[in-house]
């Protein structure tokens, strides 16, 4: 059915992303048809989650405990499976361990057939999508009624889920109305949420009252008592498990946790992280077969309740042996990583997802359960912005999983393409170009060279390329030092300061680097410049992990020595700072080196703000150091995605408020440029779609005050905003330099 997919592409046709073409087609379809509903719905979930987790006093500890429980469960999985089997069987239920999809569907089919089932009611279960049970049952003449309203919509439109918690999140009310009107050809009015709900409810109530078998998934299963946790808000799971005499639950083996008591750790965390509620309407704790008498509302004369727990392996045991993919098994399917993700907000799981698993975590799950690397190609849509990392209730490093998939996919497809090498080796390229920056900038923007770049390295022609500074930071700094002796320094300064000459700042943003030096020294804080070294960021973002690791190790040795000598490292480029404070934890083997880097590297404004926090003298003098200005500027500030993740995103607004200035901040998670992502031809449209979201916010701010100053710490954020609004965008330190 094409219903409201007017063009040639229906989501089902491009559900499998093993080819680059299907990924491209899916992106085009999603941006054209699904994007508006997706953005609205995911951003609502996202905002609600921030509120809900804010109310959980021990949110961080709960996440730690949840992670520990999941780690130990996966470690002891074989033992847990045995205990669970004994527990369920001792109550009269049956457990079937299915190694493959086929084994699982064969078993379920035989249970349904031997109970003479003609109608099965089904609750939402991504695992049941994974095994494709509906088609198997329908092929042998058994009707399957999806009872979750979102799944009901998808059953009508024959689409795969676009989100693991709200599978029809890509459909607006209008598009659902249109679909139902065409499909059901009814006289009834179907123009409001209430009417649509009532209509579907009435159809499904009949199914519930007639059903022979109920099929559900499971959020978690406890090995000690064989208890299953099923969270829902509509009440269909309650009916599915209580009305028919036969209940089949399908659960991946990774859902098993040791004890029923452990549910206490998860229930609030799941509800808050998922739909952003204190608890969903129904949190069901079931020990089937239930004691509840058989109701026989369907007119049958069943005398006994039956329960079958189908535990699905289908690649999970192999994932458990995989040092990288193993982490995905900790996932509790809350969907926080989707709602927070700027890419997902723009295109949803029909593009950023496969046949059943979606979003940032979907790549690892797709690869793990289909066994085919290329099925996880949509992992390319992860920009590595890291916004999901602090929001995952089991602390999974999701961008890392995607980097691993990109790396493996690249190796399996014959090594790094020119495109990957181009983007992955910024350092060498920049060094070369900076030998003659004016010439490079000129060549860069010639239409002929842009065509070559687009064809060879997939750099989208419509993007203005970042230009190279006329002089590198190193040269500018040398000239500055010749004229300016360092200040004496303040007694209160805890450690000496060195500005790290990262490749972006050195070759492209020398003025940001120099503004940093000047600001510190105007405030009597002497600062020197480090050597220029590559940090591995560009290589990592292309999945070139070996090369990223080499750069990381070399640089870490150098920086660690400085830190040991009593130096704090100032880093002007947020994506580089985030390497030191986040990614190096994985790239470096030496834990001690990472923790030194993590605690002694700072964004320039973050360092100043922290210093002012601890040093009231310095703080008090700040305002008086400002040049007298006719009118104090008002500021719009967009915090870089990774800066937010490492906890440095609020420093600049706080510092400006110390200076007595008014600051408005953006609430978009990421600008959508994300380093090289937005330059790539394949992803240009997604990137622009996300950028427009930020652009709209800034425009609103400009409408109320035309002279508002727009600030962003990240180089790529500034380029994105500039591309959207053709407006000058500064690094916060540049404005401070002007103010002092």
């Amino acid at each position: 059915m094409r219903d409201n997919y007017p063009d040639e592409i229906h989501p089902r046709e491009v559900a499998n992303k093993s080819s680059k073409e299907s990924l491209q087609k899916a992106i085009r379809m999603a941006l054209r048809i699904e994007s508006d509903a997706l953005r609205l719905n995911t951003q609502t979930f996202n905002a609600n989650r921030y509120t809900a987790v804010g109310k959980l006093e021990d949110y961080e500890e709960l996440k730690d405990r949840a992670r520990e429980i999941k780690e130990s469960s996966i470690r002891n999985l074989p033992d847990l499976i045995e205990r669970l089997t004994r527990a369920v069987e001792s109550r009269g239920g049956r457990v079937f361990l299915a190694k493959t999809k086929k084994e699982a569907t064969d078993y379920i089919q035989s249970v349904c057939q031997s109970s003479g089932a003609r109608l099965v009611v089904k609750a939402k279960s991504i695992t049941s999508e994974e095994i494709g049970i509906n088609h198997v049952l329908q092929d042998v003449g058994i009707e399957v009624a999806e009872t979750d309203l979102a799944e009901f919509i998808l059953q009508v439109s024959n689409e795969q889920p676009s989100h693991i918690v709200a599978p029809a999140i890509h459909r607006s009310r209008e598009r659902i109305s249109k679909l139902f009107k065409e499909h059901f050809k009814t006289e009834k009015s179907l123009d409001t949420g209430e009417e649509l709900t009532e209509f579907a409810r009435d159809i499904l109530r009949e199914k519930f009252l007639a059903a022979d078998v109920g099929i559900t998934g499971a959020n978690l299963v406890s090995a000690d008592e064989g208890t299953i946790l099923l969270v829902e808000s509509e009440g269909n799971i309650r009916l599915t498990t209580q009305l028919p005499a036969v209940h089949i639950a399908i659960a991946g083996i990774e859902k098993i946790i040791p004890s029923r008591k452990n549910f206490g750790t998860f229930i609030e965390l799941l509800a808050a992280s998922g739909t952003g509620q204190p608890l969903s309407s129904y949190t069901n704790i079931l020990e089937p077969p239930l004691d509840l008498p058989v109701l026989n509302l369907n007119g049958r004369e069943d005398t006994k309740r039956e329960f079958h727990l189908v535990l699905l392996d289908n690649g999970r045991m192999k994932m458990r042996e995989d040092p990288d993919l193993k982490e995905a098994l900790y996932c509790v399917r809350c969907s926080a990583c989707m709602n927070v993700c700027a890419t997902f907000q723009a295109v949803g799981g029909h593009a950023f997802g496969g046949e059943c698993y979606t979003g940032g975590i979907g790549g690892a799950w797709t690869v793990g359960t289909t066994g085919k690397l290329e099925d996880g190609r949509f992992a390319e849509l992860c920009t590595g912005c890291t916004r999901c990392v602090p929001n995952c209730p089991v602390r999974i490093d999701i961008p890392r999983l995607n980097t691993v998939i990109k790396e493996r996919l690249m190796k399996s497809e014959g090594g790094a393409s020119l495109e990957k090498r181009f983007f992955g080796n910024f350092s060498a390229m920049a060094k070369f170009a900076s030998l003659a920056p004016t010439l490079s900038n000129w060549i860069n923007n010639l239409s002929a060279s842009r065509t070559i770049l687009e064809n060879v390295a997939s750099v989208d022609k419509r993007r203005k390329l970042p230009s190279f500074s006329k002089k590198t930071l190193v040269r500018e700094y040398e000239e500055y030092r010749k004229k300016n002796a360092p200040p004496f320094g303040s007694q209160a300064m805890p450690r000496r300061l060195v500005l790290f000459a990262d490749v972006f700042t050195n070759y492209q943003n020398a003025k940001v680097g120099m503004a940093t030096v000047r600001v510190f020294e105007k405030l009597d804080l002497p600062i020197t410049l480090s050597k220029v070294m590559d940090d591995g960021r560009s290589a990592q973002s292309q999945g070139l992990l070996d090369s990223a690791r080499k750069s990381a190790v070399r640089l870490a040795v150098y920086l660690k020595k400085l830190i040991d000598d009593g130096v704090d490292i100032i880093v002007a480029e947020p994506s580089v700072l985030s390497m030191f404070r986040l990614d190096y934890g994985r790239l470096l083997d030496a834990e001690g080196v990472f923790s030194a880097l993590k605690s002694h590297t700072f964004d320039p404004v973050e360092w100043l703000n922290g210093f002012a926090d601890r040093n009231s003298d310095f703080a008090n003098r700040l305002e008086s150091r400002m040049k007298p200005a006719a009118r104090p500027p008002e500021i719009f500030y967009h915090a870089h995605c990774q800066m937010k993740t490492i906890g440095a995103g609020t420093a600049a607004p706080e510092f400006f408020r110390r200076l007595g200035l008014k600051v408005e901040t953006s609430n978009v998670e990421c600008c959508g440029m994300a380093g090289s992502f937005g330059y790539k031809k394949e992803y240009y449209d997604i990137s622009k779609n996300i950028g427009r979201d930020l652009g709209r916010q800034i425009e609103k701010s400009i409408q109320s005050n035309a002279s508002v100053i727009v600030l962003a710490s990240g180089t790529s954020c500034r380029e994105q905003i500039h591309g959207e609004l053709s407006r000058n965008v500064q690094h916060p330190i540049e404005l401070i330099d002007e103010l002092l």
Binding site: I153, G193, S281
Partner: protein, 176 residues
Amino acid sequence: MPGTDLIERFLAAAASTTASVETVQRDDEALNDALLRSAGDGPIIFASAGDVDPNLFSRFRENEKVISHPTIDEMKTIRVGVTDAFCGIASTGSVCVSIGRELNGPVSSLTRKHIAVLDGNTIVPRPRDVFSEEYLGGKGLRRSFSFITGPSATADMGPLVRGVHGPGKLHIIVLV
């Protein structure tokens, strides 16, 4: 008194889930009045797992329109269902309703309106406390049940709609 504080927090949280909630004296006449008032016209199906003192329901059970042993047809057409709850959660306003030998489970899920009766002494601070030996004599560790938090709801059809497969109205009576 910590007890009163828990009840206050429970009432506020339950109201924010859009359930309606009232406190009623621990007395069979008072409870009967409250139940009849909130149930409105028509038959009422009643199921109790013995989690709230059964004597408190003695007056209510005498009403002709109260059905304690429903037929299949009565279950299929249920509009108002009354059940007891074995505990309430102060932070979320949830009630925990057993799913066992009595019909609490289906009565609270098939009906259009669910009235849950809760003893104010069985309110615990947080959801996780139900899974601890310290609270409720470990009751939460030994049974099938549902945390019910507000009416059944969906956002799948666009805007938030209350009343889907489960009750669109939840009324909670807290006995004090």
